[in-house]
Symmetry: C2
Subunit: 209 residues, 2 copies
Amino acid sequence: MRVVVPFDAVDPKTRLGDRLDPAERSSFAYAMLRDVLEVVRAAGGSPEVLSTADLSSQAGLDHDVPVTIDERPLTPAVNDRLDAADDALAVVMADLALATPDAVARLLAADGRVVLVPGRGGGTNALVVRDTAFRVDFHGASIRDHRRIAAEAGIEPTIVDSYRLSTDVDEPTDLPEVLLHGEGRAADWLRENGFDLVVDDGRVAVARE
Amino acid sequence: MRVVVPFDAVDPKTRLGDRLDPAERSSFAYAMLRDVLEVVRAAGGSPEVLSTADLSSQAGLDHDVPVTIDERPLTPAVNDRLDAADDALAVVMADLALATPDAVARLLAADGRVVLVPGRGGGTNALVVRDTAFRVDFHGASIRDHRRIAAEAGIEPTIVDSYRLSTDVDEPTDLPEVLLHGEGRAADWLRENGFDLVVDDGRVAVARE
């Protein structure tokens, strides 16, 4: 299955701005993108990047991965890919640093005209669309909107229940999850850049040396 | 399968203290406990409560659910139940307000001498133990400790990848998840007590009227 991976190449991960400077945010976001592309391929998907800017100067991107540049916001850019698709299309966010081949394979194997993976905090982290009546709307609490849009089209969406796919990395409180459970470049990037787990009485956090 | 549900009946959910007064924390924690017990039973498990105090004054607890009182911390209390078990034993935390019968059924059906469900923030939200060499340690980042304890016993733990089971409700940032995805008494409790979702540019939050 074709798997579109949207990527903000211009100013990614702004909510990590108090922990990472702009160059670091780009580098970390790019490490996560590469992890996601590799995992999608290992799960049997055919990844393609939907990027807000040219990526050809970035090192390490697999040259077999097609890159489409679309400067518009996420919603119209993804809906254009849905409009142009004549078969099932998956969308997997580029910041799912905990994704594994098994988790993505569960997504791609899930039955249903619309398959949704909720993200923590109300988002939608991944979906599969097999119905031309369904279009995305990523504004606000998108998982609610996507359920509603499906219902209005008479579709009962399938929900994939995966901690790994529900964990997108947006905020400092997401970084411990990457260090605890990540297995790829994003976790390595954090360690190489001095991040480590700190355990206190409550949940774990990260500190930077 | 027997499913032990540990419950802090004395001073539950202290990290919700800036949103809920002590009586509210007790009431909300109890709503989550009742949800978890019902879901465990619907998944085919035999729930029993491991409580830090007597629950007989609480309304609505299913009288068929056995309650053991153990005032000690979680780790020795659970390990005593493991010591006394002569068959597989599951442990499911009482604050998994997003748990569904399907998610718990996946836990109970998972193969392995030790089955672990990581909790967001480094915890362990549920487990199944089928090996007398494994004992729990809930201090700190327990998922790391449980992986290590299993490895030291020569056990490769099975990890169940479930957003619903990985979401324990400890902190104000967990409350939106309950309103977005909860289907039981805990979600009803929040709505009845004036909580509602607020959507801003980032993730959703809750506000109280």
